[in-house]
């Protein structure tokens, strides 16, 4: 049968130069839904505790969704899967733009790279040929120039390129893979994995390619229903007009905006400069840009036409970038944020972790843990755009404290000591994304469980904000919990159900290639829409319940990957500051006094473990749960860890220094 997913895997070993094409077994689709799910299984099979994230044995897998390449609305996304140098665990980073469509039209469902090249190379993939090409002339170049040079080298303006900038070359723990110029698979250090392999870019030509679906008429009709449903929720229009930074100012007023390195929850003034509306008012916004097949277009293409930063151009800033480069450093002068955003995109950094490194540095400086000796005499200050630009330069050039900061706040605080773990806002090695968990309890639970670390992009539980957020959000809460009254972010009850549902649908979205905004922010693409489009595109025969069960299977396998690495319930934590300090403790003028202490989190975790058939004593899925999900095969690699979680040494990314 014709299908939009054929399990075709291109495997390239950079050590030997060997290029192989395999076809994966049927279960890669029927059991794992392709995309993120099939990639998680490949990572499970091909790597393990002995794999060094920056060693030649690590893999990096580019996996568009199983529906990517079709016109299903928002289905153009890809998953980049690897063992993370930041966390030492499973990592999937998602990327939009045109990359996924190009890979699928070039005839592949997964591109997997192993080994390490001696000299810089890039990988060229088209229907006609697959080639490892010399990149020594491109190494050292930034993202925009890399795109230009490769297009020139191959004399093809239409190539789709995913590359690293200097961040990846220096193997920063938060180096991104940058797709089609500005679309970042940002988190977890995928760019460092490429840098370690001396792989500058993956270059894809879609020319002449074709993607089929099992039932063209049924698919066209399911797709049209999906489009109508996506646009029915008001949040889709919010995304179109204002992008992801639509509500930064409202979050500030509600006391939900992390500021000053998470020590406060609001700004005294200037929050309106950190919004999508501001980009329009100041004339920075030139176009709303879509990823492949997206009906919304939340990306912002921006240019600065005058003043000190005239000539700055890039995409963004996104909400997370405004919050990370702005609010969390106390910076409200948007010109500096636009400049720093351009630098981060050109160097190929994750803006969340880069901003986190900067705010960690400023607080460390304020507390005397780092001094002008570490900063070439520069005084680091809050609310100072020059401080941010200076730190980015130091990091990318590996000067002074910059060399340490490039490894992320976990490694930096381990090295600096002096109690700096308390303001290194990270868990499991990953800097927390910019959500104030002390006032949003589903987010808190989800962040504690997330296999990547405390981050929003495996479980975006926006529905808990209720109808203040989107028209359909309360309907989603009612569907999950049976009652709309649970659509409030500061309730503890039912958080386990809300988080589980979001984890599952997020896994399905990633596997099929859908943008999670369509399934967990605008709520148009629901379980039925997912199974209808999946069945008509790939020929599966899944009910909405079965497709969500496949989502749970993916989530569970990813959990098991980390358990095999030595993680356990003891790693299901949030950053020290979030668990131990309320924002009110830190600043008595705070508007809310919510806290996320370990007892509250412990109660929510326990409910989650029980709901999902996990052992509350150690956080391991029970053997019968694994069996039910068809994951019985993982048990033999977990049995030993399962019984010794209390006394086992935690992986490095999950430890706090002995001084705790």
């Amino acid at each position: 049968m014709r299908s939009s997913y054929n399990g075709r895997l291109l495997q390239v070993d950079l050590s030997s130069g060997r290029i192989l094409v395999h076809t994966l077994e049927d279960e890669s689709l029927h059991k794992y839904l392709g995309g993120r799910g099939a990639a998680a299984k490949l990572l499970w099979d091909m790597t393990g505790p002995e794999t060094k994230p920056l060693g030649k044995e690590n893999v990096i897998i580019f996996s568009p969704g199983s529906l990517t390449g079709t016109d299903a609305p928002t289905s153009g996304r890809s998953n980049i899967t690897f063992k993370s140098p930041a966390t030492g665990g499973y990592f999937k980073s998602s990327v939009g733009g045109g990359l996924g469509l190009a890979i699928k039209h070039a005839g592949f469902d997964h591109i997997l790279v192993t080994g390490k090249s001696k000299n810089p190379v890039y990988l060229y993939v088209s229907l006609e040929r697959i080639e490892i090409r010399d990149a020594s002339g491109i190494w050292g170049r930034d993202v925009k120039e890399t795109n230009r040079l490769i297009k020139k080298d191959l004399d093809d303006e239409e190539l789709i390129i995913a590359c690293i900038g200097r961040a990846g070359e220096i193997m920063s723990n938060y180096a991104a893979v940058m797709g089609t110029y500005y679309n970042a698979a940002a988190r977890g250090g995928g760019g460092a994995v490429m840098g370690a392999k001396k792989l500058k870019a993956l270059v894809v030509s879609e020319a002449g390619g074709r993607v089929y679906v099992a039932d063209p008429e049924g698919f066209a009709s399911a797709t049209q229903r999906g489009r109508d449903a996506s646009l029915a929720d008001n949040h889709s229009r919010v995304m179109k007009r204002f992008g992801t930074a639509a509500t930064t100012d409202q979050m500030c007023v509600a006391g939900l905006l992390p500021t000053y390195n998470f020590s406060r929850q609001w700004l005294e003034a200037g929050e309106e400069n950190l919004t999508g509306q501001h980009l329009i008012d100041e004339g920075y916004l030139k176009r709303s840009v879509s990823c492949g097949t997206c009906l919304f277009g939340c990306h912002r293409y921006t240019e600065v036409d005058e003043g000190k930063f005239k000539g700055v151009y890039s995409e963004g800033p996104e909400y997370e970038t405004f919050a990370s480069f702005g609010a969390n450093l106390g910076i409200t002068d948007s010109r500096y944020i636009l400049k720093a955003n351009e630098m981060a995109n050109d160097y190929g950094f994750d803006t969340i972790s880069l901003g986190a490194a900067a705010s960690f540095a400023v607080e460390s400086f304020e507390r005397g843990v780092i001094t002008t000796e570490d900063t070439e005499g520069f005084e680091l200050k809050w609310n100072d755009g020059e401080t941010l630009l200076f730190l980015i330069d130091m990091i990318v050039e590996q000067r002074g404290i910059g060399k340490l900061l490039a490894q992320g706040v976990k490694k930096a605080s381990d090295k600096l000591g002096k109690g700096s773990f308390k303001w290194a806002v990270q868990a499991r090695g990953l800097e927390q994304s910019r959500v104030e968990l002390r006032g949003a309890f589903s987010y808190a639970l989800a962040f504690a469980l997330n296999p990547r670390g405390p981050d929003h992009l495996m479980t975006e539980c926006l529905a808990e904000f209720g109808d203040g957020f989107s028209k359909h959000a309360l309907g989603v809460i009612e569907k999950i919990t049976g009652d709309r009254k649970y659509g409030k972010p500061y309730l503890e009850e039912k958080r386990e159900e809300i988080v589980s549902w979001h984890e599952d649908i997020y896994a399905v979205s990633d596997a099929l290639g859908y943008c999670a905004f369509a399934t967990t922010a605008a709520y148009g693409i629901d379980e039925k829409m997912l199974s209808d489009t999946c069945n008509t595109a790939t020929g599966t025969d899944l009910t909405p319940g079965e497709i969500m069960e496949a989502g749970r299977r993916i989530v569970t396998l990813e959990r098991c990957y980390n358990l095999r690495e030595g993680w356990s319930r003891r790693c299901d934590v949030l950053p020290w500051r979030i668990m131990n300090e309320t924002a009110v403790d830190l600043d008595p003028k705070q508007p809310t006094s919510a806290t996320m202490d370990s007892r509250r989190l412990g109660r929510m975790l326990e409910a989650y473990y029980r709901l999902n058939g996990w052992d509350p004593s150690n956080g391991f899925p029970l053997p019968e749960t694994l069996e039910q999900l068809g994951l019985g095969y993982v048990e033999k690699e977990l049995t030993e860890q399962r019984d010794h979680t209390d006394e086992a040494e935690l992986p490095e990314s999950c430890t706090y220094p002995a001084e705790v």
């Binding site: 014709r2 390449g69 079709t70 016109d71 609305p73 153009g76 733009g97 045109g98 469509l101 039209h105 925009k144 795109n147 230009r148 303006e157 089609t180 110029y181 500005y182 879609e206 020319a207 002449g208 390619g209 074709r210 993607v211 089929y212 679906v213 063209p216 698919f219 066209a220 049209q224 489009r227 646009l231 889709s236 229009r237 179109k240 030139k286 176009r287 709303s288 840009v289 879509s290 990823c291 492949g292 097949t293 997206c294 009906l295 919304f296 277009g297 990306h299 293409y301 151009y313 995409e315």
Partner: protein
């Protein structure tokens, strides 16, 4: 409806229109079988929409040495007689609006046929508003 109105400034480069066109005409997705093409130069976010605009000049028809092109009586689009077409690309060169695309596989032009009055390309574009149904009368 009459024909398709284009607002290039509203295009976000999602390329759904290209895929929807290909699915409608061939039952599969192939960017190079589409009668609409989005040229998106991402670095500066420059976009061009290449698609027949049912202009009044009819330069493609006049340029065709084989009389393979004509105006559809019912909907006003440019109709191709594939048997008559000799694949000379004169129509492609004559169109100053980039309205004629080329099918390398068959060696014949790809020209928007308005999907017989219910164009697929505008359906994913509702929120973007780059492609909308226009009531304007077309030349018959």
């Amino acid at each position: 409806m009459g024909f398709i109105d284009k607002q290039t400034d509203n295009c976000s480069g999602c390329r759904s229109c290209e895929l929807a066109c290909s699915l409608k005409h061939y039952g599969f997705f192939d960017f190079h079988k589409s009668r609409i093409r989005i040229i998106h130069r991402e670095e500066r976010s420059e976009i061009e929409i290449h698609q027949c605009i049912q202009c009044n000049e009819r330069s493609c028809i006049e340029a065709c040495p084989a009389d393979a092109l004509s105006i559809d009586k019912d909907f006003g689009y440019i109709r191709l007689d594939e048997q008559a077409c000799i694949g000379c690309k004169a129509c492609l060169k004559a169109c100053k609006y980039n309205g004629v695309l080329w099918d390398d596989e068959t060696g014949t032009p790809l020209i928007c046929d308005l999907c017989g009055g219910d164009p697929e390309c505008i359906k994913p574009c509702r929120l973007h508003g780059a492609l909308t149904a226009s009531e304007k009368e077309v030349v018959r």
